[in-house]
């Protein structure tokens, strides 16, 4: 049993510790130096190799695993093994992605960039592009007027009235607050010459109030406020 061993702990001599420290320091210098020299793909294995040597020095002497109960070494070993398993088995996928050609190894973004380069266009930034794709036109008020069908009753680019008044100069007529209010509660102020009690049920009918997000609402208001005519 574990507690049959005599109550004696190994005391690591200062000299050993100092030597190990020296070794670690010099290895640090070495790894920096190595990385300055360009050896192509070799740089990576070298850097990782040195790091491993340093790590094992720390484990063996600083953490005194050398003199410690064997089971602790086993514990550490198992831990390391499973880090390797996690890494390698994930790479079995990511490094061979698309080997059956039923999955593309490149993302659509990458493929587009490659295509653009061929056509001599400056490739657009993937995450920028993709981000807009992710939240369709979340910040584009004009698109929102399409999305929420405002355009079926209002005209935005000419002073022509439809079911509702033209909004091409709404920004100059109303303050953003007023605009927001008249979207949320259309019948508070009804533009003269236009039927009241229409917009609310329509918007409700298509679930506008439940669908629209705060961000979209802001975008919409900003967009409308920006319409100063001409």
């Amino acid at each position: 049993m574990s507690h049959d061993t005599p109550h004696e702990h190994h005391v690591t001599p200062i000299k050993t510790l100092a030597l190990v420290l020296a070794a670690l320091m010099s290895l640090t210098v070495l790894t920096v130096a190595a990385s300055r020299v360009h050896m192509g793909f070799l740089n990576v294995p070298i850097a990782v190799g040195i790091a491993m040597v340093k790590a094992s020095l720390v484990v063996t002497f600083f953490m005194a695993l050398k003199w410690d109960n064997k089971v602790n070494a086993l514990v550490l070993m198992i831990g390391v093994i499973f880090v390797v398993v996690f890494l390698s088995f994930t790479l079995f996928d990511t490094a061979f992605r698309g080997d059956l050609d039923n999955v593309d190894s490149k993302t659509i973004g990458e493929e587009q960039r490659a295509a653009d380069l061929l056509l001599g266009k400056t490739p657009g930034e993937e995450h920028a592009a993709a981000a807009t794709a992710a939240e369709p036109a979340a910040l584009d008020g004009a698109a929102l007027t399409q999305k929420y069908l405002c355009t079926s009753c209002h005209i935005f680019d000419a002073p022509t009235a439809m079911v509702g008044p033209s909004l091409f100069d709404v920004g100059s007529r109303l303050s953003p607050e007023k605009i927001r209010e008249s979207i949320l509660d259309p019948d508070a102020v009804v533009a003269e010459g236009f039927p009241g009690g229409l917009m609310k049920p329509t918007l409700d009918g298509m679930g506008f109030y439940s669908k629209v997000s705060d961000a979209e609402m802001d975008a919409l208001v900003n967009y409308l406020a920006s319409l100063k005519g001409n």
């Binding site: 574990s2 507690h3 061993t5 005599p6 109550h7 702990h9 005391v11 690591t12 001599p13 200062i14 510790l17 100092a18 190990v20 420290l21 670690l24 320091m25 640090t28 790894t31 920096v32 990385s35 740089n43 990576v44 850097a47 990782v48 040195i50 790091a51 340093k54 790590a55 720390v58 484990v59 002497f61 600083f62 953490m63 410690d68 109960n69 089971v71 602790n72 514990v75 550490l76 198992i78 831990g79 390391v80 499973f82 880090v83 996690f86 890494l87 994930t90 790479l91 990511t94 490094a95 973004g109 990458e110 960039r113 930034e125 993937e126 995450h127 981000a131």
Partner: protein
């Protein structure tokens, strides 16, 4: 770990730090230490997630990662490495001295360790702020300013996500370590520890060395290659 006795009666011939359900101090020490090692491998696997993410994206975009690494100052990184190694050394010394019953030396070494940790964090702080100033943020918020336009390439964002998350979590561990070390310094000064009983120092030491080891890998992976 456990230091004071629980409700159970303590036989007169038992040291106060020995808990009732252990047979001997030795058994208690072994148990605590094994527990600590198990905890350390959980830490290892926690970080492994980040290392996997790093490797996957590096394998996919080696050139980008290579390129982006230039934005990190290897001098600061290297300096931090040396500082942490030194702190590991002093912790080891601290344990050495308590083992031979030299409490004063232990206290001194623990304090040096804390100072090293503080230096490490300060340097880290400067690196972070330096990045933020130039619009270098993780992931979606990655919009480097003109000066660094040439670094604004696809997947550079991933590199800096990995950088900030890894060093961030590591930094958090350093802070926790500083807390523990301070607590230990006080207790050692108070004379709670002796060559017979110094488990908390031993365990915190192990923890601190692990934090050091993690950095030993982070440094080359992020700053150098």
């Amino acid at each position: 770990m456990a230091t004071s006795t629980t409700t159970a009666q303590v036989d007169s011939n038992h040291p106060t730090h020995l808990q009732h359900h252990f047979v001997s101090s030795e058994q208690q020490f072994d148990a605590s230490k094994m527990g600590m090692w198990l905890f350390l491998i959980t830490e290892l696997l926690l970080f492994s997630g980040m290392f996997v993410a790093y490797t996957v994206f590096r394998v996919w975009h080696p050139e980008v990662f290579d390129h982006s690494a230039d934005l990190l100052d290897w001098r600061l990184g290297g300096l931090n490495t040396l500082v942490l190694l030194a702190s590991s050394f002093t912790v080891a010394l601290g344990i050495h001295y308590i083992q031979i019953g030299n409490k004063k030396a232990t206290v001194v070494n623990l304090i040096i360790t804390i100072v090293c940790a503080a230096i490490f964090m300060t340097i880290k702080y400067h690196e972070y702020t330096g990045k933020f100033e130039h619009g270098i943020f993780p992931g979606g918020h990655f919009h480097p300013h003109e000066a660094f336009a040439q670094y604004n390439v696809p997947y550079a964002a991933q590199f800096f996500s990995v950088y900030f998350v890894m060093t961030g979590i590591h930094g958090f561990h350093v802070l926790v370590g500083m807390g523990l070390l301070t607590w230990l310094t006080i207790r050692t000064a108070r004379g709670d520890f002796s060559p017979e009983y110094y488990t908390p120092i031993e365990l915190t030491g192990l923890y601190w060395h692990l934090v050091d080891i993690i950095w030993v890998f982070l440094f080359p992976l992020l700053y150098l290659i």
